[in-house]
Symmetry: C2
Subunit: 317 residues, 2 copies
């Protein structure tokens, strides 16, 4: 896919204006203790403090508020392991239209409860991508709802990228930005914003070794779908789409992978160092620093902490 068909900075700036009233400008937090441990200056963009506890509020709001009134009134539909479902339910409620959310059986309880609290109508399905897509297609066929894919959607990708716009505004010039990779929506938008506004900043994506489709695809220069995910980072079990892979190939400098114990240790270190609750998926970039998979010594590093929806009865330590 040619570069000139990818997302542009203008898309992300338009998203920002569209969703400004519906999302929080989350703080960027720092910790002397974590800086000393890494011998770097780390700037954490705290999207766990976003509405619904995750950056997903951004992309969903951009997608839902991009619909025409005629489209919107039939409602919106999506499938999600959790945070995106909440985000779509919330955006639909703000717009006053129905939200149909397909979730895999066994999804973390707080995530399902949040969707319900926001008025989303949940349909449970088998925990496979095929089952999710089939269930969602059925709902779309019946209701005429607009599909808001969790990541394979340009409005969603652009919305997620607004987090990176804010990160750059609230930090000194960054040498490096790290963000996790699930389906690739966040990294596509964020890397677009960073490379447009600060071309000298390196951008590295990080994913669990147990869901390393981005790393393998990046190395092979072609999309290698994820067939099996084995990671506690439940937000990162999705497989890249051709479109998100095209953005990663064009705009990301490298991909690192991290171990499961590394994710748990990083998660705990963030809780203790920053005094915030982050979910395993959000801890993945910091795990790369702790495991030495990314060299940060002496650098100013921006890190997107993607979400904080975790079951407090099931902590990995």
């Amino acid at each position: 896919m040619a570069n000139d068909t990818l997302l542009t900075l203008a898309d992300i700036q338009a998203a920002r204006a569209r969703i400004a009233a519906y999302v929080k400008r989350t703080p960027v937090l720092t910790s002397d203790v974590l800086d000393a441990a890494a011998d770097a200056r780390l700037f954490f963009k705290c999207e766990n403090l976003q509405h619904i506890g995750a950056f997903k509020a951004r992309g969903a709001a951009n997608a839902v508020f991009s619909l025409s009134d005629a489209e919107a009134k039939k409602g919106v539909a999506t499938h999600s392991s959790g945070n995106h479902g909440s985000a779509v339910a919330r955006a639909a409620a703000l717009r006053g239209v129905p939200a149909y959310i397909v979730m895999p059986e066994g999804v973390a309880k707080p995530k399902a409860e949040q969707v319900e609290r926001l008025g989303g109508r949940i349909t449970y399905c088998e925990p496979t991508l095929a089952a999710r897509e089939a269930a969602t297609a059925k709902i779309v066929a019946r209701t005429g709802a607009a599909m808001v894919h969790p990541y394979d959607n340009r409005k969603v990708m652009a919305g997620q990228g607004t987090a990176a716009l804010e990160l750059l505004e609230d930090t000194p010039p960054l040498d490096l930005v790290l963000c996790p990779i699930g389906g690739g929506g966040l990294i596509s938008g964020a890397a677009t914003a960073v490379k447009a506004l600060s071309p000298a900043t390196r951008f590295i994506g990080v994913e669990p070794a147990g869901a390393d489709d981005a790393a393998r695809s990046f190395e092979a220069h072609r999309l290698i779908p994820l067939t099996h995910a084995d990671t506690m980072a439940d937000g990162l079990r999705a497989s890249l789409s051709p479109d998100t892979f095209a953005h990663i190939a064009a705009r990301v400098d490298a991909i690192a992978t991290v171990s499961e114990p590394g994710i748990a240790a990083a998660m705990r270190a963030l809780w203790e160092g920053l005094k915030i609750v982050v979910e395993p998926s959000a801890a993945v970039p910091y795990a790369a620093i702790r495991e030495g998979k990314v060299e940060v010594r002496g650098l100013k590093v921006g890190i997107v902490l993607t979400g904080g929806n975790v079951d407090l009865d099931k902590l990995p330590w």
Copy 2:
């Protein structure tokens, strides 16, 4: 004690200028979920996100940087169950002078580790106020260090009050401010700031029923020292001093008390609702809302979340 001998707004503004370079301007966080549960608008001043994970960084910095060079070079000493000890160690390190910290045996491990990491020299003693004071007096006699009492110190009280200055600046006009009461340093400074800048705002202190010296003293119009503390809120086991009681009597509108299960439930609700880590002491004001001890319906309420130093292996749920 006459009102004109109490702390003034000018003391707190002076503290703010003195410590500006050494403390964080912490964010004020909100949550739609917590607002809906309380039918109020709640503004949480997140001092758990402060340096050393607690508002105590403010008061200690003000006290240590108020010393003359001649005084400071002999070092500073204090006794503390944790956060104040870290705060004094940090302020002393910033000023380049020694810090002697007396801590009770059995103090939460992360708190002692933090003091050590900051270069504080710890002396352990029996977990009684008398033992703490004796051990500290001995160190002061030997070294000539300046005593920085955790709360019975006007510079400490004024420094803690700077958190309330920022809270008022970052919120719409508040109907009510809530903060926890331990030894009374924070509430003395905070109520001074709030009553000077926003006289119509009610100010309510909250403490555990198992350490209710402030409630009993407030009702009796005389200081009734705490002889026995029974609460998980380890930061609130201290007994008011005559000076902090004088500030409370003059500037606080009411005192509420909360139960131990209420503190644990409030703590968990804050973790889940705000995605931040707060320690039991910090959850005490929110517990008063949840337990119906303070009426907040329809109000704009500022709440100081005092700290986030908690042992993740010993959570109360």
